[in-house]
């Protein structure tokens, strides 16, 4: 229960009432005032002062000064009259009613104030944003204006320069015209003295006029050009690479595969054969055997060459050259089926198809093609010759052979 304060003092004049309420040591921050037109309540816990005013007052115009241990209220009366007393005596219900009204009113006022504050803040924010945008726009316009000015200036300069060029060109033309008319006049006089017939003279006149003016202009600007250079030829070579393709078009994965295969082939020497114990050291080397075979082939000893290649293949099944060369031997020996088998084997080993093994593939295709043709399987032969032609389109002999086979096929069908 709050303590009711009754030791207030009051004075009045015609239009104002002054009420002074002692604060009894309570801090000004804790003082809470509710004031309506007929009611005033000051609560400063634990104290409470309330009063039902004698007459209505104008709450908006009234003011409260709270400080120095006392709260002074200056209330503006609605009607200018002297009050007999400060408060009216009204019954409890009415008191309650008035209190409630007072509280409601205060709440309303607070709500309104907060709403007003919110809208004010909103508007201020909007305004700030608009001014920011305006500033930025101005900045942008300024820059744009400067750019346009530059552009216009440059265009103006361009037009001016073009005008001067044109004027210079016109002057030049005029000068040339003058020259031409000058020479024309000379020619006219000359021609008239020479011939009586005017018409051909006029046409001749124009031609000679032009050529002489041309000659004159050439004479005016003589240029001693040096003679054309004596023909020279510079041979160039391109940067070597392991594979002659540029980085951007390299078939690197395929080429790597081919290299790996070659490396493996070198290493895959199958030494697990019983007959090897009979052989000499050098005869176990597939390369040496291949060379031996090649020499025997050159000498014409095809059977011996085949033997050499057989042994080499037994040692190392992965070298395509051995199969290819053995196929050539079989071709010479007219073992056509064996030749076909061997060149097929060689071609299998020569995958992937890269530029590095093109010549080897070419040879294998040609040998197989020949074998097919000898067996009169011309269609298969043509296929192989065509493949060989794909590898080397510029080989004249190949082209001739392909055409011959084609003719034979067309002849027999």
């Amino acid at each position: 229960m709050p303590l009711i304060v009754r030791d207030h003092t009051w004075t009045q004049n015609q239009n104002t009432v002054y009420i002074s309420v002692p604060l009894k040591g309570v801090k000004t921050a804790n003082v809470h005032v509710i004031c309506t037109d007929e009611y005033l309540k000051v609560s400063f816990p634990p104290f409470l002062f309330e009063i039902f005013l004698f007459g209505p007052i104008n709450e908006e115009k009234s003011e409260a000064r709270i400080g120095n241990g006392v709260a002074v209220f200056t209330l503006q009366k609605r009607t200018d009259e002297l009050w007999e007393q400060l408060f009216t005596n009204i019954d409890k219900d009415k008191q309650k009613h008035i209190r409630e009204q007072a509280i409601l009113k205060v709440q309303e006022k607070e709500a309104e104030k907060s709403k007003a504050k919110a809208t004010r803040i909103q508007q201020e924010k909007k305004y700030a944003l608009e001014t920011m945008m305006k500033l930025e726009n101005e900045e942008r316009d300024r820059i744009q204006k400067m750019k346009d000015e530059e552009c216009a200036k440059a265009t103006a300069q361009l037009d001016f320069w073009r005008e001067t060029q044109r004027k210079a060109a016109e002057e030049n033309e005029n000068q040339q015209k003058l020259q031409r008319t000058g020479t024309n006049n000379n020619q006219l006089v000359y021609q008239k003295t020479e011939r009586a017939n005017a018409t051909p003279a006029v046409t001749l006149l124009h031609n000679t006029g032009n050529t002489t003016s041309g000659q004159i202009s050439r004479k005016q600007k003589p240029k001693d050009l040096p003679a054309p250079r004596s023909a020279g030829c510079i041979k160039i070579s391109f940067t070597p690479r392991v594979f002659p393709t540029a980085l951007r078009e390299s078939h690197v994965p395929e080429e790597e595969e081919w290299l790996k295969k070659q490396a493996e082939a070198r290493r895959a020497v199958d030494t697990d054969l019983a007959e090897l114990s009979d052989l000499k050291e050098e005869e176990r080397n597939p390369d040496w055997l291949k060379e031996k075979g090649d020499k025997l082939f050159m000498a014409g000893n095809y059977l011996a060459a085949v033997n050499a290649y057989n042994l080499a293949i037994k040692l190392n099944r992965k070298i395509p050259a051995l199969f290819s060369n053995r196929a050539a031997c079989h071709l010479k020996l007219r073992n056509l089926h064996k030749a076909i088998e061997d060149s097929s084997q060689a071609l299998e080993l020569l995958t992937p198809a890269v530029a590095a093994n093109a010549p080897a593939r070419l040879k294998a295709h040609v040998r197989r093609g020949t074998a097919f043709c000898e067996l009169e399987l011309y269609v298969e032969g043509l296929q192989d010759y065509q493949a060989a032609l794909d590898i080397d389109p510029h080989n004249v002999a190949l082209q001739a052979d392909t055409d011959k086979i084609r003719e034979i096929i067309q002849g027999t069908t």
Binding site: A154, L158, R162, S217, P226, S237
Partner: protein
Amino acid sequence: MSSTLEKPQIIAHIQKSLNYTVFDSRWIPCSAKFVCMGNFARGTGVIQIYEIQQGELQLVKEIEKAKPIKCGTFGATSLQQRHLATGDFDGSLNVWNLEMPECPVYSVKAHKEIINSIDGVGGLGIGDGAPEIVTGSRDGTVKVWDSRQKDTPVVNMEPMEGETKRDCWTVAFGHAFNDQDRCVCAGYDNGDIKLFDLRNMSLRWETNIRNGVCSVEFDRKDINMNKLVATSLEGKFHVFDMRTQHPTNGFASVSEKAHKSTVWQVRHLPQNRDIFMTAGGAGNLHLWKYEYPAQRTKKDADNVDMGVAGSVNLLQNVTLSTQPISSLDWSPDKQGLCVCSSFDQSVRVLIVTKLNTV
């Protein structure tokens, strides 16, 4: 803000959309006209002449030819005649008088395959010596022609017997400071750059920059060779200092990566040989300035002179289109005016400002 506006600005002054693929565009010397060369969709070649009038391009003349035209130059003609030398897809070199284009002034079947690049020297009142045209072709050869000699080139740079040929993508003349000296620089698709000395008829220098060389240009054709810029695939370009050749290391160079795609062209400003513009495959242009080092030569371990490369600064860049800008040409008469064409079938006239204060 003001410092950014003090940099040179690249302003797209006029843009014109064409109805054919344009490969090359060149200013006609001493005029406000330029030519565009390309090919129509029907497979024939076209040369169009445009004039700039009041902020618009007016078509002055259109010439149609049998074969598509890849490149052209005015470099080897006199200022009075202004004949255009073109290379076409068929390997023919033709020199046209644009006033009477029905019949070429000089014509020769220069190469077996398309002429990728052409350059001319000795004309336009610049430099001394005989006017010559050099062409580089997909057949791997580089040939120098003189219009007074029919049918055979005056110099032929071809691969040796049995050598696999590489496409030549670009050629440029340089070092033509008197009437005997001349050099031709050629760039190939495997990254080779070769410098040929025409006075000694020999290969003077070669190097390989690993990526195909799209464009080479000397900073000036008619002086003792000073700098060479070579642009390549994958966004790199190299600036070589050509004043000092070391016996083993060749020329010093600085390289820069820009554009994030192929750098299609480089062109030096005719009025200032240290400023050049590169055109990229993403439709962008970069304007660069080369700064010389404090000392252009230094001695190496064996007391032999070697060159020192400087540095390159980016002045400005702009993106004009989404397709590569295939050709670029500065006007020799007006500083900052240039024409560029790109593969989106359009040609643009650009103005680059503030080049005199850079």
